[in-house]
């Protein structure tokens, strides 16, 4: 049986104050395991991004707990939480958030630089990771010179450069055409998913559901179902 990577128990999130208080995430509980690719799907406003932020140590839940392996991440101090994200979690943001004033390799090296790795060593390591995503030759270019798909792969290289065991993708195919999106997710499944890594993807792109191990459906802040994907069926 696979080890549990993330365990969310009864997490709730409210935004704002009465009378315009919003209950964005309602009593959500689930588990994600190492070696698993978990999708969180649902319509816009269903609370999936909020839930993703809470399990990745970015947004404090109003109530409930989030365990990553045996650690309750929301009992950590803000500095400890930052260190936790830096070491254990790799983020691929919807808009990539690459730095246009840095080269592609320098963008990828950022997590290593935040870990106080020496600049040149970090950039060399970043170039090796760019090789994994097939963009070694783009290393000296600024990200603005790259296509959308290439920028997505640079963001992926940045997410994996510090060897995190949890990868978080927020709408990875939102800015890409159908084929490119599928290729990217296929690549992630094939090359990045290991027994030591858990990948959580927030999406509402049904064209990539086939790559999931499990799909967690959300609606109106609640989990409405968790289902095995076609991969398991195969």
């Amino acid at each position: 049986m696979a080890r549990t990577a993330i365990e969310a128990r009864g997490i709730n999130k409210w935004f704002g104050e009465e009378p315009i208080r919003t209950h964005a995430v309602k009593d959500v509980s689930f588990e994600a395991s190492f070696g698993e690719m978990l999708y969180v799907v649902g319509p816009s406003g269903s609370g999936k991004t909020t839930m993703l932020s809470m399990i990745s140590g970015i947004l404090r839940p109003s109530s409930g707990t989030v365990q990553v392996e045996d650690a309750d991440i929301w009992s950590l101090s803000s500095d400890e939480l930052a260190a936790f994200r830096l070491k254990r979690i790799g983020f691929v943001f919807q808009d990539y958030h690459l730095f246009p004033r840095l080269t592609t390799a320098e963008n990828v090296a950022i997590p290593l630089i935040l870990q106080h790795r020496e600049w040149n060593a970090a950039v060399e390591e970043a170039e090796r990771n760019l090789e994994i995503v097939g963009l070694r030759n783009r290393a000296p270019l600024p990200p603005v010179k790259l296509s959308g798909g290439e920028q997505q792969r640079v963001a992926i290289a940045r997410a994996i450069v510090s060897r995190p065991d949890i990868l978080i993708f927020d709408e990875p195919t939102a800015s890409l055409d159908g084929d490119t999106g599928r290729n990217i997710v296929s690549f992630v499944r094939e090359h990045l998913l290991t027994d030591q890594r858990c990948i959580v993807i927030v999406t509402h792109d049904a064209r990539i559901y086939e790559f999931a191990d499990r799909i967690l459906r959300m609606e109106d802040g609640r989990v409405t179902g968790i289902e095995r994907s076609q991969l398991d069926a195969q």
Binding site: T49, L59, S78, R85, F99, L114, H116
Partner: protein, 378 residues
């Protein structure tokens, strides 16, 4: 350099338009601040040129004197009284006054005439040509080669002129440490010849120059002179008194300070606004860094580094620009009175630090408030 600061550096300088705007803002502000205060320092320095050039330790004068050019003649007995004060090594009279010269071509030129004590020639200038002893020759004057020298039609030894229908002859060319403020050339002669050539009031001594036996005697001399109804000031005190007059009793000081303040506000506005825009444009990047795992302290370090780097670079460029302008102006305008002092540099530096601090404070507040969750929400 730590990697996080290198990221900050690259973010800053690779945004060339913003970086240039920031540098221009700071450089312009520093340039204006230093230029204004340098002009003021130059004016103040020149206003005390006679005090600096003569170099006496203690000056005795009428208490109503406000500047060195505004002389109130002293009666002769004051000289004897001061010489009798215990602690006075020697005391000599000095004449300082204006005269109208008729030059070789018939034109008239105002000049400042310094009459040195005939016996000691105390306060004599450094000779460039001719001998100081020639000052005792008939009708002898020494011309000072300063920024105003050309107004005497560049005289040489033997050049003649008229002063109150007296014949005057240049017997030497000399130089002094500081040019005068009011743009007139300076002639040195003996005290008695100055009195003889220039019409005077009943009293004739402009100042008494006193050398104390020791620095400890200065207090006694000042007290005794005060008891006699006059004022004794050390050289530094006299320079300060003159500076205070120009600073507080004329509009010059107020105007210069206002201009300096305006320069500061202009610099702060340009740099603060540009830096704030720079932070706003990169706010999502800072948020992404925070989400990835950068600590708040590291983001603050990045912003402080960027603000400090811009401030120091702009400061250096501003100082360089100001120095270059003063150098160019002096080479074309001999009368140009501007002097960069350590005080000017320190004041401009403090103001630049304030500009950087205010600019970065706004940025730091903005960056610390950004929530990584906002990055997810787009």
């Amino acid at each position: 350099m730590p990697g996080i600061l290198l990221i900050a550096y690259k973010l800053l300088i690779n945004d060339r338009a913003k970086f240039a705007a920031l540098l221009v803002g700071i450089t312009f502000a520093v340039f204006l601040m230093i230029e204004m205060t340098s002009l003021f320092a130059g004016i103040l320095s020149r206003s005390s040129s006679t005090v600096i050039n003569i170099g006496a330790s203690v000056w005795v004068m009428d208490p109503a004197v406000q500047t060195v050019a505004n002389t109130i003649p002293l009666p002769d007995y004051v000289l004897d009284e001061v010489r009798s004060v215990p602690g006075v090594k020697y005391a000599v009279p000095l004449y300082s006054g204006g005269a109208l010269l008729k030059l070789r071509d018939g034109t008239y030129q105002s000049a400042n005439v310094i009459g040195l004590d005939d016996t000691s020639l105390f306060g004599r200038p450094q000779m460039l040509s001719g001998n100081i002893e020639d000052i005792f020759a008939e009708n002898a004057f020494i011309a000072i080669q300063d920024a105003e020298f050309y107004k005497l039609q560049n005289p040489h030894i033997g050049t003649e002129f008229e002063l109150n229908d007296h014949r005057g002859v240049i017997v030497g060319i000399a130089r002094v440490a500081s040019s005068a403020l009011f743009g007139v050339p300076t002639l040195y002669t003996t005290y008695n010849r100055a009195l003889q050539y220039i019409p005077n009031s009943r009293f004739t001594m402009s100042y008494l120059l006193v050398e104390p036996k020791s620095p400890a005697d200065v207090a006694t001399i000042k007290a005794q002179v005060k008891a006699a109804g006059y004022l004794a000031l050390t050289r530094d005190e006299f320079v300060q008194k003159i500076s205070d007059f120009y600073m507080y009793q004329t509009g010059i000081g107020t105007n210069m300070m206002l201009m300096t303040l305006i320069s500061f506000i202009v610099g702060l506005s340009i740099s603060g606004q540009t830096f704030y825009t720079f932070i706003l444009e990169n706010i999502d990047k800072f948020g992404a860094l925070k989400a990835i795992g950068a600590k708040g302290r590291e983001l603050v370090e990045m912003i402080l580094f960027q603000a400090t780097f811009v401030a120091l670079t702009g400061y250096g460029l501003g100082v360089g620009l100001c120095a270059a302008l003063i150098w160019i102006a002096r080479s074309h305008l001999p009368d140009y009175a501007a002097m960069i002092t350590f005080g000017n540099l320190a004041m401009a530096f403090v103001m630049v630090v304030i500009i950087a601090a205010i600019s970065s404070y706004v940025g730091v507040r903005k960056v610390l408030r950004i929530e990584p969750f906002d990055i997810f929400r787009g």
